[in-house]
Symmetry: C2
DNA sequence: CCTTGACTTGACCGACCGGTCTATTATCAT
DNA sequence: ATGATAATAGACCGGTCGGTCAAGTCAAGG
């Protein structure tokens, strides 16, 4: 309804989809404006710069992510170890869906931006780091619970959680390079085998 | 000596360093020419386009890679499982050295390019895939040997090798985002815990 | 000597980049 | 109705992009 919110969110949604499917450098403001059916002046009314836009996109995606399938995958009602499988499945179906529609795997927006931008923009790097830290915390909390319930032997849950996040990003990277979501299904379940022991 | 070879290899070396430290889109031909002390015309005498240049860079780096520290890390005289640790160490020292010089972690050129370009250029994607396949084969051969000598229980060595490659790329991605090579040291050793069983 | 062809020089091209600016319109409180 | 402000429109800016091209330089072969 609210026209201002509508325009802004249309820009945000269009930019998000384009940045996700391609890259920061490859997507121009002009193109986003056309896609969102907005004029340049309107764009710069809502966003001061391209870099501020992509920061907003990161926030937007992180929000959806945390409240969307990640929240489901890390559902507290599930046994901890099963949540890991759910997370893999969620990643697979997401990439699979995007791949079926667009014909190519977009991969993980955060991973994509991290590799493209973190040598160029420290502010963005910090933001992406924060997103990764939150994801790691989800893993860690799950592992903590698994250890507490005795489902898993004691370990360094923080380091192992980080390792699992790294593995997930690595799988998505490889799957994107092969343009084949099935790689996620093949490699994903092994995430449960990762372990970093508590240092003595 | 040979001036033609010298000019070409100077372009190649400059481009490689710049592409590795930044990104494909962020580095311009002009900038490469200045860095290599070459004129634009000379550049286009040796390389028909920017995309052909980066393909040559990938080949160049892959060559160095295979004959450099990867060859050492996968030294046949080492016990198979130790080679995995060597590989991690090699990755760490490489990134650490680059980080100390440049102040920021460049990450893996192949991983960087894969995420930036694989939705845009299928030829490059295929080339990067081939590089990854070779790396996976190194892992697989090592695992095969470890299984044969009884150091590791039988498993799906191809899938596990792929998983290890994915994990390595994921670790480097995370380390780059944190701009901290030590992440590789912290997470790296867990590569040995990865396992994908032979499907029944 | 003269020709050939690899190599170099640097001006030049159209397209597009992110971003600015002025003018106009829609909205709404007074 | 009016004045302030939010929002939109779209022409415009300097700069840079990848790439082209005509004009040379120069060493080797005949």
């Amino acid at each position: 309804m609210n026209p201002e919110t509508d325009t802004r969110s249309r820009i945000l949604a269009t930019a998000r989809e384009m940045f996700h499917g391609r890259s920061y450098a490859d997507v121009g403001i002009q193109e986003i404006c056309v896609g969102a059916k907005v004029q340049k002046g309107s764009f710069y009314h809502f966003f001061p710069s391209k870099q501020e836009l992509v920061m907003a996109v990161i926030d937007d995606m992180a929000e959806d992510w945390a409240h969307g399938f990640v929240a489901e995958a890390f559902d507290q009602n599930l046994p901890p170890v099963e949540r890991l499988d759910y997370m893999i499945d969620a990643a697979y179906y997401w990439q699979k869906a995007a791949s079926d529609i667009e014909g190519r795997m977009p991969g993980c927006l955060f991973g994509n931006l991290a590799l493209e931008m973190s040598t160029r923009d420290d502010v963005m790097r910090a933001k992406l780091n924060a997103v990764f830290d939150k994801a790691r915390d989800r893993f860690r909390a799950t592992l903590d619970e698994a250890v507490q319930t005795g489902a898993l032997a004691p370990m360094n849950t923080e380091a192992t959680g980080t390792a699992m996040l790294a593995y997930l990003e690595g799988i998505i990277l490889l799957a994107k390079t092969r343009n084949d979501p099935d790689v996620i299904l093949l490699l994903g379940p092994a995430i449960k085998t990762l372990r970093i022991e508590t240092s003595q």
